[in-house]
Symmetry: C2
Subunit: 400 residues, 2 copies
């Protein structure tokens, strides 16, 4: 936005339809503004999982052993079509962190190698890095990218400066967790390729929130959840690996098919419930009936509006530009300063939940308390207005 | 059995009750003689899981984040009471292989260390050993223990001879997979302790099949499934670790609570469906209403009878003594020699399943084709007689 432009506050979108909340099991007495943490699964998708499970229980060996491989192959194909990939270039895992663990535990890391990410990294991934650095003698580096973010260049320039001859791998968030920023991953991936650095995109929040075409981004690895914004049952996620690296990547649970190739190894991670994975196509289809474009657009407009409205009400600066250019369906903002009278973010969250019936995450990010409302089609603009009021009320009562 | 004793063929037990099969989802048109591979879950236990899942979906953050730790703690306590352990000395994992991976990937293994097991090891664990040996430069050793087994001493003496100064860890099956032998793990564990060798018991089949008291066995590590003979939903298993080693063992997916202790690390293996774990107490209680002692006794008697009957009908020697002293609820026997005309064990299995509606596993174990019928309370003696006939029919038709 140049200084000539006049800022026009956005309006919230109209709901796609009435009564969408009832398609989920979510408690209607709570404003659930935290789709982002664990997702939420529509009733019909859970019903599909229950049906899968009963089919498996009727013929356990036939379904899991003899037909399981083919069923998983079909499910991978459907996921691949949704995220721009061949089905066999991705493998199901329980969550994105699990996929990232598989990569970092599989690749050859030497003492002195640099493992690079930013200070927007998801904490579970940070811990994985620390563990791997400890095991291998590599150096873990967290590049600082301050908030608010004004432009893509800020991110790209910082990363370009941080890459060295010793950089073994960069892990970059597609959409950051605490700070809810869409990073320009295509440009970052290109930068890495130019420098011969492997790049793993942590796309935990991407599928179902934004348009995603992994083949176009073309990273070395891409890990993502399907139980968040695709609304699949919990435990549904994938790891995508570029073909020339697939043979080097092993699942976290080694089992029968070691060294028989990426597809074979990951299709059998020992006896487990694979019905969450098989239900992903059910989730994709179910929400396709509402319309994926419509869903993404609605959620983005709601987030852009909520960001502007909350910024103004609380007099704070959100992590991303107000024009919505760097956010998806979540926005992240600092809480007003006196929120810290509550000592712990969790205590503030607890008050919002118990006193105001609002579920929303608050995290201490580099000393700042960031609140991150999510926007899903079951949410209404009025819920964010309730949030604006509730935060002000809590902050005022803290001052007394 | 001394030569003075006259062998008296056992009789099959009476069914505990009529119509037990209908408590499961199992296809009534198939003789399901393979409880051992993946288990099978009673309808009511699956219903309990569905209820858990719906509770989670109603309040995702409250249940998984804020209450999840306490719910898991209660479930661990119930499992602990069932297997003779404090709840906090065990951690939930997706399957026994996963638990064994966690141990072998966590402990410090140096080049030249010997990783010892027997040729009865489960193949998924064999592959894990191979992978770890490849990463660390350790030596993987598979001790040969021939079948049939006549006595516990055979096993103990072989292991005593195989332990050296370089033995880093022994992995020993409590009940072997392909060969269905109960190994004398208490005596083997004592032997390891005497030699300062860590010992991991692979108890994949033990809980719910035999009486189990891990504290009495007192190994270094014990991994077991709960989805097999405890009949919990798939994906329910645990890893037990002796207190002084707990801080060194990490889950396969490192996440937020790295280095905060065994209980903390394993209670959060990133976002996943924990309802299979929470449903384990439901499974324990549900089958307690029928009576765990009664169940184990019935299944053991049925297996002992089936072993004798099949040995006689097929004129083969089962893997364990005919008095049932080294088997639980599964028996393993070589198929008649001309079964190999079918080229692949899976092809023979396929004929049993398609032509005779019998589900039973057959594995090539060290060049021998072993068939391993399981006995669960929903099984009837007549199903094993059908199996006896079907195998003879298939072998005869192979000869033509």
């Amino acid at each position: 936005m140049t200084c000539q432009e006049v800022y026009v506050a956005p309006k919230p979108p109209s709901p796609i339809a009435e009564g969408l909340l009832s398609l989920w099991h979510l408690d209607p007495n709570v404003a659930f503004l935290n789709h982002g943490s664990f997702g939420a699964t529509p009733r019909k998708v859970l019903d599909a999982q229950t049906k899968w499970r009963e089919r498996f229980e009727a013929q356990p060996i036939e379904m899991l052993d003899r037909q399981g491989g083919e069923l998983l192959s079909q499910a991978r194909k459907a996921v691949g079509e949704f995220v721009g990939s061949r089905g066999d270039d991705l493998a199901f895992v329980a969550n994105a962190t699990c996929g990232i663990n598989a990569v970092l535990r599989s690749i050859d890391i030497r003492p002195g190698d640099e493992l690079l990410t930013t200070n927007h990294v998801y904490n579970g991934v940070r811990q994985t890095f620390r563990y791997i650095a400890g095991c291998t003698g590599a150096k873990y580096i967290e590049l600082e990218i301050p908030i608010p973010i004004h432009s893509e260049e800020q991110v790209i320039n910082a990363i370009a400066e941080a890459i060295t001859d010793r950089t073994r791998i960069l892990v970059i968030d597609h959409i950051t967790s605490d700070t809810a920023i869409i990073f320009p991953v295509k440009r970052i991936v290109d930068l890495c390729h130019k420098n011969n650095v492997e790049v793993l995109v942590d796309g935990a929040h991407a599928p179902g929130m934004i348009d995603l075409n992994i083949s176009e981004i073309a990273p070395t690895y891409y890990a993502a959840n399907l139980h968040k914004w695709v609304c699949a049952p919990k435990g549904a996620a994938f790891l995508w690996v570029t073909p020339e690296h697939q043979n080097q990547i092993h699942p976290n649970t080694i089992s029968h098919f070691l060294n028989e190739g990426f597809v074979e190894e990951f299709k059998w991670q020992a006896t487990r419930d694979i019905t969450a994975w098989l239900s992903v196509p059910n989730a994709i289809e179910y929400l396709a009936d509402i319309g994926w474009h419509k869903i993404k657009q609605h959620n983005h407009q709601l987030a852009t509006w909520a960001q502007a409205m909350l910024s103004e009400r609380w007099d704070v600066t959100a992590t991303t530009p107000l024009d919505g250019s760097m956010l998806g369906s979540m926005t992240s903002l600092p809480l007003p300063a006196n929120a810290k009278a509550y000592k712990e973010p969790r205590l503030f969250m607890r008050h919002l939940y118990v006193d105001h019936k609002i579920e929303v995450p608050i995290n201490d990010w580099q000393g700042q308390w960031l609140i991150r409302p999510s926007c899903q089609i079951y949410n209404l603009a009025s819920e964010y207005e309730r949030l604006a009021d509730a935060v002000i009320t809590l902050c005022e009562s803290a001052g007394r």
